[in-house]
Symmetry: C2
Subunit: 884 residues, 2 copies
């Protein structure tokens, strides 16, 4: 049988899977000669055996533990339970992946009525000995015997009150002795057995308890949350105790080798004299900054600095080190890679690479792409205390504070007075655009991640929370309620669009800032990445932001967002309400110069970089007022003002809205289906694009428009629309005698397009995979209806491993993307391919795109840095697999 117990000097850091993270590091530190209290690790294999054997330790494992204990006793020259030189040990869990605080620990194991006296004799400190013993009883009883901590704590409080004490340090040896006795009574009362005095029994029970704690509730929840496999199991580390609380020549502390918040290369941490680890945590005494250890214990400090430098170099990463000083001697209890903020992660990685500790590639792999979000948006201060009211869908990242208003007029009014407001609506419509512009942020009680509010807010880089189902809005009364809590007009709230949280009152914020190291890291990323990153941008502002954040072109310019601008709404409505093609053409004629200006703006920013313009995509009814509101208005007017002009108008509008209404608008008359039925719309858009190109040509800028026909499902659709664009180009460019390098392509966003990509490719210069819609149609999920509803349960119950709208579903949707690329390139090897769904800014999806051989990903401007880093990481991880 495989060994189930390893002495620290038998292992090393490569044995994480078997020894757990803590055990492997303790072994490694022992191997490199650091002052680690000696001990041994019971492996994760033993944990599996434990569960397989019906939650008990087999006799072989017990035997191995005893043998290892003997070695430990030999090495320390102490013995567990010995009345003269007693050994005390700590028993700690240690999983493969760190699960801080999730599982159980027992310290001071080996204490009993006899060894406590031996400890008193050895240290000459009876108060310390009995304090240690009562700590052990308390911890062991709670962790191993399952007695609620409350019984011990309340008893201790009683005694202190009785004696008139406020804090523990006032307790004398006699007091602690009294506590020990009454603690033992509590145990006996609960377990109907005396507190176990046999140290071996104590040890075996503690090992069992640690294994049991692998499946305690909070550990399971933590694993679910962090996707840690249940099968890992935990190891148990048994280590001889060192005591930081034996006097003022002792102490304990924690330090990071660099600043975990800023990344500055300076030892960062704190220590407490005459204390054990839990005293630091308890927070009764305030620890001192680590730098002050130098004056308190100069020798120890020097030694610790050396150790920390050694450990950082050895592990090639910033370390989080726990240490204890026992009677002037330094012991290292633990080291691990330090958790850090995004800013710190970036700075540490870059500076370590610059110092030659890491290669650039390694540095790139050290930063979690998703973390970069923190650096780009204003966010809630990590240290802020939050009074969270409720949560919704995190529709657009960033944090904001403001006074609540309930309609767009008010939002504009208060904005004009210089007030900061947050717009609260059941849902928004194009009529609310001015209000959204005026507001700091938007919150809606209905709608999903693709609702009007979400899309518009993301476009503007404004925080937004959608689908807050718990929010009961009373618009006429200008209040909303969550449960019993009422928030009134102009009350202040704070929202975090990155998490979906809504807080009462104001909350401290951190402003985004882009450091030198941040730019350095992204520059290295650009050198590595084998896939281009573009941005989705619908206006010059977004385009500028995209360029600033490193986008190499616009991968998706949604022209409908231009239609939603307030100054165009009237014209757009006029166009939609036209009853003849002539009327519609007339309305389009008026929209033409405005669209042209839009394109001139964007082209002017992106200059020679490619800009993919998607022609009008959403169903026309999206530009008209809400149907249900109209029904209420018409019904009311019929009863109250049956003769009014207003009624006539509203009735006409309702008729039109009804005509255009669809049962499933997602699958309705939209995309190129609009262009095919109303070619005049696409013709106008194409004309605006070419006119804009001419304007820039005259300024000496050769723009590269890529005209994208959305929602193609059959090659004939693209064939006809391509012809329309070419004819428009010939007409417009011909008349101006200007040559523009333009291409025509399509979005692959319904399964049939991917399935017949070989036919569609004949008509396309490029494919852009619209994986938002492709995910909707491949799964048969309406994102608006699924997210926050049944999809939530699916994720909680692990029916789906991931939200497919966040992480591209490689198995299903990915298969179609691969098919599309393969079939498309088979007939047209020069076909350019990209992705412009939201997946374009998600790291796993970017890796998929890279492996599938796409030329670029496109994401919202603020995600461009993330995408650049993720692209670089994916490239590095797949070196050797990728051909280009």
């Amino acid at each position: 049988m495989q060994k189930r117990v390893y002495m620290f000097d038998e292992g090393h850091k490569g044995m994480r899977q078997r020894l757990g993270g803590k055990g492997a590091n303790l072994a490694e530190m022992t191997q490199i000669g650091l002052p680690v209290p000696y001990g041994f690790t019971v492996t994760t294999d033993a944990c599996h055996d434990y569960y397989e054997d019906g939650k008990q330790l087999s006799s072989t494992i017990k035997e191995e533990i005893i043998q290892s204990l003997r070695k430990l006793e030999e090495s320390t020259n102490k013995q567990l339970g010995d009345k003269e030189k007693p050994l005390f040990v700590s028993v700690r869990s240690g999983s493969v992946v760190s699960m801080p605080g999730m599982m159980d620990t027992v310290l001071n194991l080996g204490m009993n009525d006899e060894t406590v006296e031996a400890q008193k004799a050895l240290t000459g400190n009876g108060r310390f000995a009995y304090d240690s013993y009562r700590r052990f009883i308390q911890m062991f009883s709670n962790v191993v015997l399952g007695i609620d901590m409350y019984f011990f704590e309340s008893h201790l409080d009683e005694i202190k009150e009785e004696k008139g004490y406020v804090n523990d340090p006032e307790m004398t040896e006699a007091d602690w002795k009294e506590v020990v006795a009454s603690y033992q009574e509590i145990v006996e009362k609960h377990t109907r057995q005396p507190f176990p005095q046999d140290p071996i029994e104590q040890l075996m029970l503690a090992v069992n308890a640690v294994f049991d704690s692998w499946n305690n509730k909070r550990a399971i929840i933590y694993r679910n949350l962090n996707k840690i496999p249940d099968s890992y199991g935990t190891a148990v580390n048994i280590q001889s105790m060192v005591f930081g609380n034996t006097g003022d020549d002792s102490g304990t502390g924690v330090a990071f080798t660099r600043n975990p918040s800023t990344g500055e290369n300076l030892l960062y941490g704190e220590f407490l004299l005459n204390a054990q680890g839990e005293d630091v945590v308890a927070g009764i005494r305030t620890p001192q900054p680590i730098a002050q250890l130098e004056s308190a214990m100069p020798e120890v400090y020097k030694q610790f600095v050396d150790v920390s430098l050694l450990l950082e170099k050895h592990y090639r990463d910033m370390q989080d080190i726990e240490f204890t000083v026992e009677q002037g001697k330094l012991y290292i209890l633990q080291t691990r890679n330090g958790k850090r903020t995004a800013a710190s992660a970036v700075r540490v990685a870059v500076e370590m690479a610059q110092a030659g500790i890491l290669t650039k590639k390694e540095a790139l792999l050290r930063v979690e792409p998703e973390q970069l979000n923190q650096l780009l948006h204003r966010r809630i201060d990590d240290n802020a205390e939050l009074n969270q009211l409720t949560k919704g869908l995190p529709a657009s990242p960033g944090a904001a504070t403001g006074k609540v208003v309930f309609d767009s007029e008010e939002a504009q009014e208060f904005y004009a007075r210089g007030e900061k407001v947050i717009l609260i609506r059941p849902e928004t419509t194009p009529d609310d655009i001015q209000g959204i512009i005026a507001a700091e942020a938007v919150v809606t009680s209905r709608g999903g991640m693709t609702s009007h509010a979400a899309v518009v807010a993301r476009g503007m880089g404004k925080p937004c929370i959608c689908g807050v189902e718990s929010l009961k809005i009373d618009t006429p009364a200008k209040t909303f309620k969550v449960g019993d809590i009422e928030v009134r007009h102009l009350d202040t709230i704070t929202i975090d669009g990155g998490t979906g949280a809504i807080m009462l009152g104001e909350v401290p914020m951190i402003e985004p800032k882009i450091s030198e190291q941040f730019n350095q890291l992204l520059q290295w990323a650009d050198e590595e990445k084998a896939i281009e990153v573009r941005a989705n941008a619908d206006n010059p502002e977004d385009s500028s932001k995209a360029l600033e954040l490193g986008a190499k072109g616009v991968g998706l310019c949604r022209t409908e967002h231009m239609f939603m601008q307030p100054d165009r709404q009237k014209l757009v409505k006029e166009m939609i309400l036209s009853s003849t093609v002539e009327d519609r053409k007339e309305a389009l004629e008026k929209l033409l110069p405005i669209q042209q200006e839009d394109f001139e703006g964007i082209f002017g920013v992106m200059r020679e970089l490619p800009v993919t313009v998607r022609l009008l995509d959403p169903p026309l009814h999206e530009f008209l007022p809400d149907k249900e509101e109209l029904i209420v208005e018409v019904t009311t007017l019929r009863l109250t003002e049956p003769q009014s002009e207003e009624l006539k108008e509203k009735e006409f509008l309702l008729k039109k809205v009804n005509e255009l209404a669809e049962v499933n608008p997602m699958l309705g008359h939209r995309g190129c289906r609009l262009g095919l039925i109303h070619p005049e719309i696409y013709a106008m858009q194409a004309e605006a694009i070419f006119n804009a190109a001419i304007t820039l040509h005259k300024k000496g800028i050769q723009v590269k428009p890529e005209i994208m026909i959305p929602l193609v499902g059959h090659s004939n659709e693209l064939k006809i629309m391509r012809q329309l664009v070419i004819e428009t180009a010939e007409k417009v460019l011909g008349a101006a005698n200007v040559k523009v390098e333009y291409t025509i392509g399509t979005m692959i966003e319904v399964p049939r397009a991917a399935l017949t990509a070989d036919q569609i490719a004949y008509e396309a210069d490029f494919f852009s995979f619209g994986t938002n819609d492709l995910t909707q149609t491949t799964f048969g999920y309406s994102r608006d209806d699924a997210e926050g509803k049944f999809l939530q349960s699916y994720l909680e119950d692990r029916i789906l491993p991931e939200n497919p709208f966040r992480v591209l579903d490689n198995e299903g949707v990915g298969q179609l993307v691969e098919m599309g690329v393969k079939k498309g390139r088979a007939v047209k090897p020069s076909l350019k391919t990209g992705i412009c769904g939201e997946h374009g800014g998600e790291e796993n999806s970017i890796e998929f795109c890279l492996k599938t051989g796409l030329d670029y990903v496109s994401c919202s401007p603020y995600r461009v840095p993330l995408a650049r880093l993720a692209a670089a990481q994916a490239t590095i991880r797949n070196e050797g697999i990728l051909t280009k």
Copy 2:
């Protein structure tokens, strides 16, 4: 160069592509020695050359025509333009596929001022000669010179009026001579040239005109409608004229070798003495039945009977023969396979097979499956004159006449009084079920082929027309309008659910009847077909009908239709409105015995045949009242009765409806997503199924339920639902100690299911391809929004070759079906596969299913015969390709 002109004795019937249908048959008849007026055919290749050469005849082709003309002249011993023995010819189009009346014909070509006199001399009939000449001028001027027929006809009318004549026969030779002269003047006035006297010029111009007519407007429309490729082109047949109007020893007629209406094996047709073909068409004189030819011309009749027997035997099909008798001599002008009714097609095919003329397989291929519909539904009499008001979507076949009513209560009321009514609604809801039951037929102005009305009516086998957008219903006024025509309450209309036509008043009908030959044919089909046919049936009545029409099991039993029955609606609403799982379980408890009864009924009919039961599929809001109506009600009540209980109730209902409302219900919370979130619903349904199986087991019937989980997109969904069904089975069957042979499978109806079929197959005993939904998701089309809207334009503009909801889209959706079968069988070779979308009853789709290796197709009961025949035909056509 390939020959461009063939004499009749140089061709044969196999040369259809080159000589056209008519030319090939004339050649064939010539070859087998029938009395065909001699002539030659200018090929379709010449037609292509004509168009390639910019619409002119090349000199080589002209030369070939002249040479062929010379041969014709030699053979007839007449010459074109000869003043003594003039040859006259007919010039007729003849395409590869018959396009009756679509292209142009010129008769009597060769007539001019001289040859008319020669004809007079030869026949001794001046009146006949000048009548022929004026006919020629009229026809030639119209067809070749493009002068409107009106000028000639109005002139002739003037002359007749002047002379006091009523009919043409009153005209004398002199009169016709006068007409000829004035006709020539009309031509000269229009063309500023004299009427062409040169017969060769006439001939060449006529050939050009026939080629031109290939692209006249009506021919193009006809080709579009009948999917005849534009590339075919037409041939031109030039044939020596025979005249049926030279006197009473002459005549002309048309006859079918069997009755085209009933199929009876008796010569069927009519003839007219002393007449040319167009006289029969003109309808001024009434032709006599063909049998009377025996007494009029016994010799000719006998000869004609022989010819018709010979032709039928030669062509091995019922023939449609045109003949002319010229001065006692019979000429055969044309033969072709006779068009026939469904009844005739079936009888002819079966009787010909029984007579040994055809093999059984050939007989099976002779009947168009779609035609069988005619034999199964009551239908409008083919001879009826229709006063068509408007058209909608043909949602459920069959014809009905009744008085219009506008709500369900009235429908029931009049039904109770024995009146026949047709229910007119904007759209129907479950509340209308009683009304639909009471009505003869249903018409809705909104909704598509999958709307509530359509689905329910098809289930009941009741005629239904949906989405009649031109219908403006005024429910309060109890009227509807189409344009300016108003139809009032209790006015009578007739509808044809097979075509979507709505007619004013009553229209004669034909009742369906199933003949002996029909059953014989289907029996032969069953012997041949290599794919099973099942039916979609939701109740015992449909199941019985399915069994009667030859289904071998139920392929789809939609349990939601049971939920829509009026007696369950209250319980279903109660179940949906439950706010806790306990309340819902209580409501389900009450539904259980009712569902069980449903299954007992169906199982009782199908007995040992398999029944695939699909668990609840549609979103729950489908069972609640219409949201928009509720909004109107609530708004009205708020203004009029703000304190009423009714308002409170309606507000509660509206709240629930809003909670359940979805933006895209097609892609929302339905199918197994319901079962996963509310497992109690599926558990109840499974329990009902097993309880029913036990009941039948006790009667000695071993039923075979196949439990189908709808809308699975990820194998985990099926895994969990399968477990639920198995647990229910173990509980229910275990308690009763009964063994039931059941299987569990899924519908493959979203693309992801097909793409990951290898994973899903692990959990499935069978796959049923739900190609309705699969088509919706693969194309990204909402059927409700597409059909009758943009899809209509797509079909008209040939963007799509077929309506993919009617004919399975092999290229796209079919690819997914193939993938599903292949991947599924790869991991589970025993996997049973079928299709249960509406495609299961469409012939091309059935052929696709056969070739893809599916085990069965399932369609609505009334389409089962069609499917059986189509399956047999597909099997025969693919013999040698299929492995089984």
